[in-house]
């Protein structure tokens, strides 16, 4: 696979690992947060941890939209899907996310709700066209990467005069969350994250560009390197972060220049800003209410807004108190620090959302990395 296989080369990786080891000062510890779940998954999937020196540690951030979705939003989706007239279209990723009652969309489906897994927003349009008598709702979720396809879909629904089609919008914004991690008073109560730098999102940045990160790097004095999702991309970016730390810099650098520019994909940005506007605040699991961090449909598209159409209301619910997802999403705890990890909570029956998506820290560690809990860390 061109533009992928080359960036998975074992020999180069070995060299890069040594380069990182050589540049990382042995008396220091480097803690880098990969904000994005795509990085979390790749780290685990390729066993990247095994390649890094012991004093370079990756902290998994909140960059998985499935993981940060609060249980209350899943509850809302379940209640919606349980309406007899509704067909709910969802990305497969969401099916096993637990709501507050231990119920998921998968179990709601088993109990009779009409829920369809789709691969693309275009599938949702097709389903709506084929069932004009049904209320077809698309469960929209995702960061800036996934929002433009939702926007295109809404424009298409408008063009096709789909009268009983709507969107349950859960799109969220990356920079707001990064800001929240670095700043939020809520976080200070648990313990301030000690992060020396960030691996910046790959595909989010392909849309928004690198520019939005500049103010963050500036304001908080942390280096940010936008990195591709292939393992060599990440290793290179880690090396770049090590160098910035060593050199006392805190700049935004772009390792993923083959797909990311400073300004991003303007056309996609416009599609999104035409249709969506900022919510005052949106709840993130682990981060609480984050101001201006979510999107909703503009008034002009209210007919497509499922929350309006079905007068949906959010009932905030407490997460399972034993679940450490919140602390893990902020990087202050690791999956093994949760006493439910691997006992009550496994990907088959996840307690928290981090155990669902393979971008979630708990799921990634369980699925790919838990053998390390039982072996001596290599030097």
């Amino acid at each position: 696979m061109k533009y992928a296989d080359e960036f998975r080369d074992k020999t180069i990786a070995r060299g890069l690992a040594r380069a990182i080891g050589a540049e990382a000062e042995s008396q220091s510890e480097y803690r880098f947060m990969e904000f994005c779940g795509g990085h979390t998954h790749a780290i685990s999937r390729y066993g990247l941890e095994d390649m890094l020196p012991a004093n370079v540690r990756m902290i998994h951030g909140p960059g998985c939209p499935v993981c940060v979705l609060p249980a209350s939003r899943i509850d809302m989706a379940i209640r919606l899907a349980e309406r007899p007239e509704v067909t709910l279209c969802v990305y497969g990723d969401l099916m096993r996310v637990p709501g507050s009652q231990g119920k998921s969309l998968l179990t709601a489906k088993a109990f009779g709700a009409d829920i369809r897994m789709v691969y693309s927003t275009l599938d949702a349009i097709r389903i709506a066209e084929q069932a004009p008598n049904r209320e077809v709702v698309f469960f929209a979720i995702g960061f800036e990467t996934t929002t433009p396809p939702t926007a295109v879909m809404i424009r298409l629904a408008e063009k096709k005069w789909l009268k009983s089609f709507s969107v349950f919008c859960n799109h969220v914004l990356t920079p707001s969350a990064m800001h929240s991690i670095l700043e939020s008073p809520d976080i200070r109560n648990i313990g301030r994250v000690e992060v020396d730098g960030f691996l910046g999102p790959a595909h989010v940045s392909a849309i928004i560009g690198t520019e939005p990160y500049e103010v963050l790097a500036q304001q908080f004095g942390k280096p940010i390197v936008i990195a591709g999702f292939e393992p060599l991309d990440m290793m290179q970016a880690i090396l770049m972060l090590v160098r910035q730390v060593n050199e006392g810099r805190h700049e935004v650098e772009n390792q993923y220049s083959r797909a990311v520019t400073r300004k991003g994909n303007r056309r996609a940005q416009e599609e999104v800003s035409d249709i969506f506007e900022l919510r005052d605040q949106f709840e993130w699991r682990g981060l609480g209410l984050v101001p201006h961090s979510g999107l909703k449909l503009k008034q002009a598209y209210a007919q497509f807004d499922a929350e309006m159409r079905f007068a949906m209301h959010e009932v905030r619910v407490a997460d399972n108190p034993a679940c450490e997802c919140g602390a893990i999403l902020r990087g202050v705890k690791r999956p093994v620090d949760c006493e439910l990890f691997g006992t009550v909570c496994t990907p088959e029956i996840p307690t928290g959302s981090c155990m669902v998506s393979s971008e979630g820290a708990c799921a990634a560690h369980w699925t790919y990395g838990r053998f390390r809990d039982y072996q001596l860390r290599r030097a």
């Binding site: 533009y3 990786a13 060299g15 890069l16 040594r18 380069a19 994005c36 998985c64 295109v152 083959r258």
Partner: protein
């Protein structure tokens, strides 16, 4: 949430659609989010949409850098 693969544009279709191919598989996707795509371009495909064009020169540049860093590292060892 951002699973995405690089694919080559094989055919431009009407209505902002295109066929892309990846190692012997081909799939119809939307190219509504990218202007002026041409056959032979590489794009990142995410949830059935082309999200970004891949810049071959930049890719080459990164790769070369990686190779240099990699061999530097190898040299370090030896």
């Amino acid at each position: 949430m951002c699973l995405s693969v690089p694919a080559e544009v094989a055919k431009i279709l009407p209505d902002d659609m295109a066929i892309v191919s990846i190692d012997g598989i081909s799939k119809e996707i939307s190219i509504a989010l990218i202007d002026d795509l041409a056959v032979g371009d590489y794009v990142l495909v995410h949830v059935g949409y082309a999200l970004a064009r891949i810049d071959p020169a930049e890719a080459e540049r990164t790769l070369q850098l990686l190779q240099e860093l990699g061999s530097e590292g190898q040299d370090l060892q030896s």
